[in-house]
């Protein structure tokens, strides 16, 4: 939901990168076609990953075509043709975006509300359409978003508990990618850990902002921090790093158990390098003194 689940580009082969990009573009096009122009703005890497997992678990690959897109109207580029994986992913996306916007609207200040309020009417139409196709999923997401709200309002001091609702949303979404019940338990845990990882890394990324805005943050709440100085920040980063690493490691273990073959190199890259890289980027941003090799990364 936040774009942290992405490949580590320097270790990708050109052809893997091209395929990844084609799926990104295809997903964007599918969003525009099914849910209107505005929904394209909300596409993130996380959902490209979900589409890849969907195809890998169902042992499918997307067929590609050369086509134009709005961002580059003069150049034809390869694009994945819409398949079941992409329409499922797109629906999951508009459902979760809608609830996220609504949630933002409920707890942000006046200025912060403006973008969410502006987006909401656009996303509502898309949301209704997606809900029609996946009513159960939509209900589940609503339930868990409410649960997340109440946990945050209670200023929950357990890191595990705070991540639970978001983790459960992803568990449902991941389980929904296939009807094959052999996969359900494994996908459920995989999704759970993926949601947990995303929630925790997003919380870590937002620590300073949350502290300033006095909004809920699981790391601040669990450690009962009153003053955010270098010492307490370092402590937060230590704890968070352990928690996030542990989650990623368990996620990798689940991924290995899924033992998918299609898109394996890309998925391997995301799981084993991309996740760690996302965490390192946040840690480096915090700890500017440690100079690690700068990697030139541009958005796709």
């Amino acid at each position: 939901m936040f774009g942290y689940i992405r490949p580590f580009k320097p270790e990708m082969k050109m052809r893997e990168y091209d395929v990844y990009k084609a799926i990104y573009c295809g997903l964007c096009k599918e969003l525009g076609k099914s849910f209107g122009f505005m929904s394209r703005m909300t596409l993130s890497y996380d959902f490209v990953f979900l589409a890849l997992i969907h195809m890998a678990v169902n042992d499918n690959v997307a067929s590609l075509e050369k086509s134009r897109c709005i961002a580059h109207p003069f150049k034809k580029s390869p694009m994945a043709i819409t398949n079941e994986a992409m329409s499922y992913t797109a629906s999951c996306m508009v459902i979760s975006i809608y609830y996220k916007l609504k949630d933002n609207l409920a707890d942000d200040g006046f200025i912060e509300r403006i973008p969410s309020a502006g987006m909401l009417p656009f996303s509502y139409g898309a949301f209704r359409k997606a809900t029609k196709s996946y009513p159960d999923l939509s209900n589940n997401v609503k339930e868990y978003v409410d649960a997340q709200r109440s946990i945050e309002q209670q200023n929950c001091t357990s890191i595990d508990m705070s991540a639970e609702p978001t983790a459960l949303i992803m568990a449902k979404i991941a389980q929904g990618v296939t009807d094959d019940s052999n996969f359900h338990d494994r996908l459920n845990r995989f999704g759970y850990l993926l949601g947990r990882w995303t929630y925790l890394i997003d919380a870590l990324d937002d620590v300073k902002d949350d502290f300033k805005a006095k909004s809920y943050n699981p790391f601040i709440a669990s450690m009962g921090i009153d003053i955010l100085d270098d010492e307490s920040l370092n402590h937060i980063f230590d704890v968070a790093k352990g928690s996030i690493n542990m989650t990623a490691s368990e996620l990798a273990s689940c991924y290995a158990d899924l033992d998918v073959q299609k898109y394996r190199p890309i998925l391997d890259n995301i799981i084993y390098l991309g996740l760690t890289h996302s965490l390192n980027t946040i840690i480096n941003k915090h700890d500017k003194n440690t100079r690690t090799e700068e990697i030139n990364e541009r958005p796709l």
Partner: protein, 206 residues
Amino acid sequence: MNDPYKILGVSPNATEEEIKSVYRELAKEYHPDNYHASPLDELAKERMQEINDAYDNIMNMRRSGGQPQYGQTEQGYANSEFADIRRFIQENRLEESDELLSGIPQNRRSAEWHFLKGSICYKRGWLNDAFMHFTQANKMDPSNPEYSAAYKQILWQRQGNMRGNPYREHNGGSNKSGCSGCDMCSALICADCCCECMGGDLIACC
């Protein structure tokens, strides 16, 4: 494949001791020596093989955690006050086992209690709590191999290690291209050969 428990004629809930004694009885009965030069010789051999396989199978399954391990007296599980809870955890009945554990009063919360609590958290994906309980179990009873294995495993994960990582050798993404002593020697020998071909010599002694 047939159910190994049926072959031995024991219940899947039998303890390791029970299974061993049944196995010994059967082994005595079907031992090929008893059927020497008898028409039943072949049959007995087959039956003996079947019994051996079934016994090995059960023991392997129990050791690798595929079956409830509450019968393993050697590791002290039979004396475990939490045998039923262990069984629930093995069967993935996490709600019940957690409820049972919560019912144990504070003063009876031993290292094993923390280990089991940690296992439940682990299965639920509550990894922070799992880490806390495994750490506690290991601290209370550092000599127990089961607790220390769980603790070490989760510690390893916290350091960012991943099972099945195909990039592990590459040190997290940055390719290390090295030149070992062997590489250098063979390169020199190659160069020497080339020189000799052209009538010169690089390494005089070879």
